[in-house]
């Protein structure tokens, strides 16, 4: 059991999601800053709904129980745009009507207000992922790996306090995959972010190096009473 005072990172406290009354997924865990929890499960096991729940996009057809804490503050009921939770999906989803630079500037908080400072921050971010000189490019002309790297920097520039990764590497080919994956994990650790990774790739899970939580799509446990409790994952593990 968790000690009451330790609520650092992302805490899913006895969370249970139901779809029109039927239990779909239940989980109880704490993801400490800088560590990764991997959730593995077949499609239909409610992974996407769990991410929707955390990020604030749960559809009205679903009901949620339990508490959601980020660094000690409760997230439930807060609008999605105020949660500071970075999302990465299977496809990079760079906005196709903007340039690479505009995509990054879109993410940058308005608190960085001068035009030059904003641009410099974005250009620096591009440089950090080896994409210096790509600022003016049309995202559609970038390779899959390059797009994912831009998407990663776009997510991080928005200054998130946690990361949710929804199979972000599955669209990449084998050779790029490991590079991009290591980059994502490294930057997340550097920024000391709790990361929730959803995947069905064993390699991803192994590379993440944290706790693994298995979901069974066909049998959502004993409903919401029997919670699967992965041990708290810490940065040292």
């Amino acid at each position: 059991m968790r000690a009451k005072e330790d609520t650092s990172g992302l805490v899913l406290d006895s969370v249970c999601l139901r779809l029109e009354g039927a239990p779909l997924i239940s989980i109880d865990c704490q993801i400490r800053p800088g560590s990764i929890l991997t959730i593995m499960g077949e499609s239909g096991s409610g992974k996407s709904s769990l991410l929707d729940f955390i990020a604030g996009f749960l559809k009205p057809a679903f009901q949620a129980e339990g508490k959601l804490l980020l660094n000690g503050e409760t997230l439930s009921g807060r609008p999605a745009q105020e949660r500071q939770i970075g999302l990465m999906f299977q496809s990079p989803l760079l906005f196709p009507h903007m340039s690479v630079l505009q995509n990054l500037l879109f993410a940058l908080p308005a608190s960085i207000s001068t035009r030059s400072e904003r641009k410099d921050t974005a250009l620096k971010a591009l440089e950090d992922v080896g994409l210096a000189g790509f600022a003016g490019r049309d995202p559609a002309t970038l390779s899959g790996g390059q797009q994912t790297r831009v998407a990663l920097m776009r997510t991080l520039l928005a200054d998130p306090k946690a990361l949710l990764l929804d199979e972000p590497f599955s669209s990449l080919d084998q050779t790029r995959r490991a590079d991009v994956r290591d980059l994502v994990f490294r930057l997340a650790r550097e920024k000391n972010l709790p990361v929730l990774l959803v995947t069905h790739d064993q390699e991803d899970a192994a590379a993440a190096g944290g706790m693994i939580h298995y979901l069974d799509g066909r049998d959502p446990g004993a409903g919401c009473s029997g919670f699967a409790r992965p041990k708290p994952v810490s940065a040292q593990s």
């Binding site: 989803l93 049309d138 997510t155």
Partner: protein, 552 residues
């Protein structure tokens, strides 16, 4: 929102029902009675009018749907299909009245078709005394309606086909040995039919109560119900208004019967169809049926194109006596004259089109965005409410609406006409935009929101630019619908608001073909301009964005 949508319809219906039972205080009728109904049924030829409305409307709708479905079944995914699509899309923007006028110029006894064969084949040196136009059975009118509704239903079908996995179903069906048309009717159509059903019902409601096309192409002895009602409404004898209102109720009944008949037929076809799923018949040799599906479509496209070209020729013709195939004298002078005369009508048309399209598009965007923000799926009830004005005959509540505007002193103003047009423009705008909006990957908005972007920022910087093309197309559709509105403009404008559409219908029956053609051309050019802009602007704005070039 509910009041905004249902308000005008309910108020209009009430304003029709009360006079229908003899209550119209403005004119001094304050007691309820059945006299209006009695005098209505005493009108000569009423049953014939009713039958004409019901028959031409329903026949035209079903024929249009059949042509569209058989053509789509035989040819979708082929080069022929794509080529014809390119011709059919602009035809959607042709207002009903302009199409009817062009068609009249083509098939009239003094029209181009007769001229082509005279006098060498027919021996006619003057226009024959035949009732090709305004034939008593309403054949010309039915054809006119078909020519106009086929492009509409076709584009609705095309939009419905534009969803994921439809192509795979064709492959799956073909690999099981089914012919192309069999796959369409047994596998694809059952999936897309729910999406084209509502447009079809709107077509039936419209066709059974159409006024402008009926006035130009329809029979006159007697005319169908709707144009007769309009004539009574505008009769100097004010007591006829009560009878006209009673007639509007009858019109409501006629359209309702046509809709019910269609729903029954649809049900029967569905039962017959599902009995065939299990038959295992593959109909691999459907070449003949495919040909049969192709020719009606080609005829319609050719006739429409020819009609529009004929309008253009007439606007530049000075003298064009029968049986010459081309004008003897050309002149642009008349065109500039008429342009001068028509300038106020053109300005009013443009103002109404831009205002109505802007309001309707903005309202649609607001509604869709609010719906997405609530994370709710489509709301069935609200959807039905939006389309109610399209499922009722316009005339049945426009009479009441006219009384209402008269009562508040707005009758005959641009504002009143704009409001009345919006009742019909908004549903089409919603129809045009809701599908592209719902097809946009919701994860774009999620990603933007999770980066802290407000709903407003997500709307202006993500959703709107991503949907720029469909939004502009929606604007063009809305503008085209506004330009095409004849009855609302006529009734609510009370003769004081004149648009190119009301002018062209009024001129169509007159002798001056040049001027009538010119107004019909103006009617055509406005929506066409908007459609061209809707195609050009996104290509310009996103010329450096590869992913935005594809149609979404």
């Amino acid at each position: 929102m509910v009041i905004l949508l249902a308000g005008p319809v309910l108020a209009g219906l009430a304003g029709t029902v009360l006079p229908a039972f003899g209550y119209l205080p403005v004119l001094g009728y304050t007691s309820l009675s059945l006299d209006p109904l009695r005098s209505l049924f005493a009108m000569p030829g009423l049953s014939k009018s009713v039958l004409l409305s019901f028959g031409t409307g329903l026949a035209a709708s079903i024929l249009s749907m059949a042509i569209v479905l058989v053509f789509t079944a035989g040819w979708s995914e082929t080069r022929t299909f794509r080529r014809l699509t390119r011709f059919l899309s602009p035809l959607l923007s042709v207002p009903h009245a302009a199409a009817a006028i062009g068609l009249a110029f083509l098939i009239a006894p003094s029209g181009l078709l007769v001229r082509l064969f005279s006098p060498w084949a027919t021996g006619w040196t003057r226009p024959p005394d035949l009732l090709i136009l305004n034939d008593p059975a309403g054949l010309a009118m039915t054809f006119g309606l078909v020519a106009k509704e086929v492009p509409f239903l076709f584009l609705m079908t095309l939009a419905a086909l534009n969803r994921p996995h439809i192509k795979e179903y064709y492959k799956a069906g073909a690999s099981l040995g089914y012919g192309r048309m069999s796959v369409f009717f047994k596998v694809v159509l059952p999936q897309i039919y729910p999406l084209i059903r509502l447009p079809m019902l709107a077509v039936i409601a419209y066709s059974t109560s159409v006024v402008d096309v009926a006035q130009i192409l329809g029979p006159t002895t007697p005319p169908p119900l709707a144009p007769r009602l309009v004539a009574w409404m505008n009769d100097p004898d004010l007591s006829k208004r009560l009878m006209a209102s009673a007639g509007a109720l009858l019109q409501l009944l006629v359209s309702a019967c046509a809709l019910l008949t269609y729903l029954c037929l649809e049900r029967l076809a569905g039962l017959w169809q599902s009995a065939r799923y299990a038959s295992g018949r593959r109909r691999r040799h459907d070449a003949l049926a495919r040909q049969a599906g192709l020719y009606p479509m080609i005829v319609i496209v050719a006739v429409m194109m020819l009609s529009m070209a004929l309008l253009a020729v007439w606007t530049a013709a000075r003298s064009w006596w029968f049986p010459a195939v081309l004008p003897q004298k050309w002149s642009l002078g008349r065109m500039t004259d008429a342009f001068g005369m028509g300038a106020p009508a053109l300005a009013a048309t443009l103002a109404l089109a831009i205002a109505a399209a802007s309001i309707a598009t903005a309202l649609t965007l607001w509604l869709l965005d609010a719906r997405s923000a609530r994370n709710a799926a489509t709301q069935g009830k609200l959807n039905i409410l939006i389309f109610v004005p399209l499922l009722l005959p316009q005339i049945s509540f426009l009479f009441g609406l006219q009384m209402l505007f008269l009562f508040v002193g707005l009758s005959g103003t641009l504002l009143a006409v704009l409001l009345a047009q919006l009742v019909f423009v908004f549903p089409y705008a919603f129809l045009a935009l809701s599908d592209p909006w719902n097809r946009l990957d919701p994860r774009y908005a999620k990603v933007a929101t999770s980066m802290g972007a407000s709903r407003l920022k997500v709307f202006w910087q993500v959703r709107l630019p991503l949907l720029l093309r469909p939004v502009l197309v929606t604007f063009a559709v809305a503008a085209a619908v506004s330009v095409g509105q004849y009855l609302p403009t006529l009734m609510i404008g009370a003769g004081r608001v004149v648009t190119v559409t009301t002018e062209s219908v009024a001129l169509a029956s007159g002798g001056n073909r040049q001027v009538a053609a010119l107004y019909a051309m103006l009617q055509l050019i406005i929506p066409l301009t908007f459609f061209v802009l809707a195609a050009l602007v996104p290509s310009l704005v996103f010329r450096n964005r590869a992913a935005m070039r594809l149609e979404r």
